[in-house]
């Protein structure tokens, strides 16, 4: 299905310039709060266009976005977690942006981190422009690590295990070398991608959880708990993680870039030197330490009645100077490489590890069911870690359920393949 080019809409918009156009923009979490500060200048540059920013908490974001789509009350532009892009494309909710990007003087695919840009491409069409990136890396207490005999952060799984063993030996039973909440999918999936697992195989039609690469990663992950390196707790069970990190209860934490700002804000000034960031250790060393290509994209909804203005807003926010300003306001890392030349960002030692990691990121399987599958991955993981279920059983159950979840996808793919194979009535 081809989407009409943007030019007629631009003309239409010009004809209607006397009436003010109001764009609805939905931002998620803190970014939603921050973007409201960037909007006035856009309105000044585009007289006649008003932007109404609505902020949605992350905890309800996925549900809200889907409910809004089903209820036909979607905004014009939205921030979308990039793992959700395939889902919304499958719904037919998003406008393909290829023609707009081809004509744009601001947005060029080559400017963006390759792995990040790839998350927005579905069936060779582009549906979103990366806004900021999110990948999980190691935050660690460099002083505790040094005391345990490690002057530099670990770069390989073997070294990592040695470092954690040394930390555990020093600190005893009430302190933990690493904090990995049991109800997060990102650590498991990161390790699996590093071990070479595709997570979903056969063009994402079946789960690959009982295959050796995933099993190897899962063993590594589960061993963290059985060896006593990580506490068996979920996200909400730690009182104040920042206080605990400062106290040394945890020496390492796999988490994302927003915590650079949180650490700076919540830890006292005299404790700012003791923490640092490092790219993820890989099974065979630094180069194999791939990470998740996470982050958020800016998308335009097909149902928008102001597609031209909506694209203008996306373009505006994608400008290098706006990406830099956005970074300074939110601490979120830009998706454009050239925005990293911003002096504050370039000088930020903590962000440097992210830059290095971003050159080695891999997208998650681009299936609409990803959010559900990711949730089930840690659900069954928790069963093995906290529920006493043997690992084989947990992984087998996970694979069985994911295969059942993907049944629809298999049916649709088979049906589309059959249609493409059979001669179409009337020819093409």
């Amino acid at each position: 299905m081809r989407v009409p080019p943007a030019w007629p809409l631009v003309l239409l918009a010009a004809c209607h310039s006397s009436t003010a156009v109001t764009l609805d923009f939905w931002g998620l979490g803190r970014e939603g709060e921050v973007v409201a500060q960037l909007v006035p200048e856009f309105e000044r540059e585009n007289p006649g266009v008003r932007v109404r920013v609505q902020q949605i908490p992350w905890t309800a974001a996925h549900e809200k976005l889907l409910t809004a789509y089903v209820g036909r009350s979607t905004p014009d532009v939205a921030q979308l977690g990039n793992t959700w892009v395939p889902e919304f494309v499958a719904l037919g909710a998003l406008l393909p942006l290829d023609s707009a990007i081809a004509r744009s003087r601001v947005v060029h695919p080559a400017d963006y981190f390759t792995g990040i840009w790839a998350t927005n491409v579905v069936d060779r069409a582009v549906y979103g422009v990366p806004w900021y990136v999110d990948t999980r890396i190691l935050f660690y207490r460099r002083d505790l690590l040094a005391q345990a005999g490690f002057a530099a952060p670990p770069r390989s799984w073997a070294e990592w295990l040695r470092a954690m063993a040394a930390l555990k030996a020093r600190d005893g039973p009430h302190r933990w070398p690493i904090y990995v909440p049991t109800n997060e999918w990102q650590p498991i999936v990161t390790l699996a991608l590093q071990a070479g697992s595709p997570i979903l195989k056969d063009t994402a039609q079946y789960g690959a959880f009982t295959d050796p690469p995933f099993r190897r990663a899962f063993d590594f992950y589960a061993d963290l708990y059985t060896r006593g390196y990580a506490p068996r707790v979920g996200i909400t069970e730690v009182g104040n993680i920042y206080q605990e990190f400062a106290r040394g209860t945890y020496a390492m934490w796999i988490t994302g870039p927003w915590n650079i700002g949180e650490f700076r804000r919540r830890l006292p000034p005299n404790q700012q030197k003791i923490w640092a960031t490092a790219p993820m250790p890989g099974p065979e060393g630094a180069a194999s330490g791939v990470g998740l290509a996470g982050g958020s994209s800016l998308v335009v909804y097909r149902a928008s009645r102001h597609q031209a203005e909506a694209w203008k807003l996306v373009e505006y926010l994608s400008r290098v100077d706006l990406e830099e300003r956005f970074y300074r306001l939110s601490g979120d890392l830009p998706a454009r490489r050239d925005a990293w030349r911003d002096p504050v960002l370039a000088a930020d030692a903590a962000a440097r590890a992210f830059y290095e990691q971003l050159e080695r990121v891999v997208p998650t399987p681009p299936v609409p069911e990803w959010e559900l599958i990711a949730t089930r991955i840690f659900d069954y993981g928790e069963q093995a870690i906290r529920g006493g279920v043997p690992r084989d059983t947990a992984l087998a159950r996970l694979e069985r359920e994911v295969n059942q979840i993907l049944a629809r996808r298999r049916w649709l793919l088979a049906r589309n393949a059959a249609r493409a194979a059979a001669p179409a009535g009337g020819g093409r």
Binding site: Q54, Q55, A68, V70, G71
Partner: protein, 273 residues
């Protein structure tokens, strides 16, 4: 003497029970007046050091709670008014008007009381979507505007209205609607008050349906907004407690002021007619 002791023991237990029952609500108020971080201190505090209204100010100025309050008032108020009219009409008809199939209709309706509302929720959402009522105040009100329970409550009460009153009015040539409006309604005022309170309280407190049907921040009712805020601001205990107070205060006020009717209504509903 024995009576004295028994009385003291009895009242002691009653007071302890009341304290336990009210304690979470009292702490809710106390915590909302504490300064930031005080409610999360160790060991936990019962009373604020210096009471402050800063969190209430923040709620209304930064977090737009006034708007959510207004939304709740609109949705609950409107739904109550409409439901009073529609339910009383139907309840009166089922109780006092003669027509074929009356008892069977009533039995079908009562059977519907068994069905949990959640069964209807998903298809109802899809139905309202095709009617374009998603994310509207009307959509939020619709499940409350006519309920089997409301019709049932009114019908049970109207049964006790003397038939002579109605016959006399008919003899005077009054139309059926006139009889309903001028004769019956004034007489059943107590149950109307009860139903009004029930509907207002249940609509005000409703959480799942507004969560599903309203996607615009600006239209959120208080419970939905509170749940959303509590996800984002989980570290800001005092602020959340203040939000809870703002949500709970109106219903508590309505209840305490009108508890005579509310209690009577529950008791009326509990006797099977």
């Amino acid at each position: 003497m024995r009576r004295r002791w028994a009385s003291v023991a009895l009242h002691a237990v009653l007071v302890v029970g009341a304290a336990l029952s009210l304690f979470p609500l009292l702490w809710m108020v106390s915590g909302s007046l504490m300064s930031t971080g005080e409610a999360n201190s160790f060991p936990p505090r019962l009373l604020p050091h210096h009471a402050t209204l800063a969190h209430y100010a923040a709620l209304f100025t930064q977090l737009d709670v006034g708007r959510y309050f207004l939304n709740s008032v609109i949705v609950a108020g409107f739904a109550t008014a409409v439901s009073l009219f529609i339910n009383s009409l139907a309840g009166y008809a089922l109780a006092k008007l003669e027509f074929r199939g009356r008892e069977r209709l009533f039995r079908i309706l009562v059977a519907g009381l068994v069905i949990p509302a959640q069964v209807a929720m998903l298809p109802l959402f899809l139905l309202l979507r095709s009617l374009g009522l998603v994310n509207t105040y009307l959509g939020a009100m619709i499940p409350a505007m006519a309920t089997i329970f409301g019709v049932f409550l009114i019908r049970q009460y109207v049964l006790s209205v003397p038939d002579d009153l109605l016959d006399a009015a008919r003899m005077d040539g009054a139309s059926e609607f006139r009889i309903y409006w001028s004769v019956v309604l004034p007489v059943i005022r107590p149950i109307l008050a009860t139903l009004a309170i029930f509907t207002f309280l249940s609509t005000w407190n409703d959480f799942l349906w507004p969560l599903v049907i309203l996607s615009d921040n600006a239209k959120y009712t208080l419970p939905v907004a509170l749940a959303g805020l509590s996800g984002e601001h989980v570290q800001d205990t005092e602020l959340m407690l203040a939000g809870s107070v703002v949500t709970v205060l109106p219903v508590l006020a309505v209840f305490i002021g009108l508890q005579r009717f509310y209690v009577a209504g529950i008791l009326a509903g509990s006797t099977k007619g």
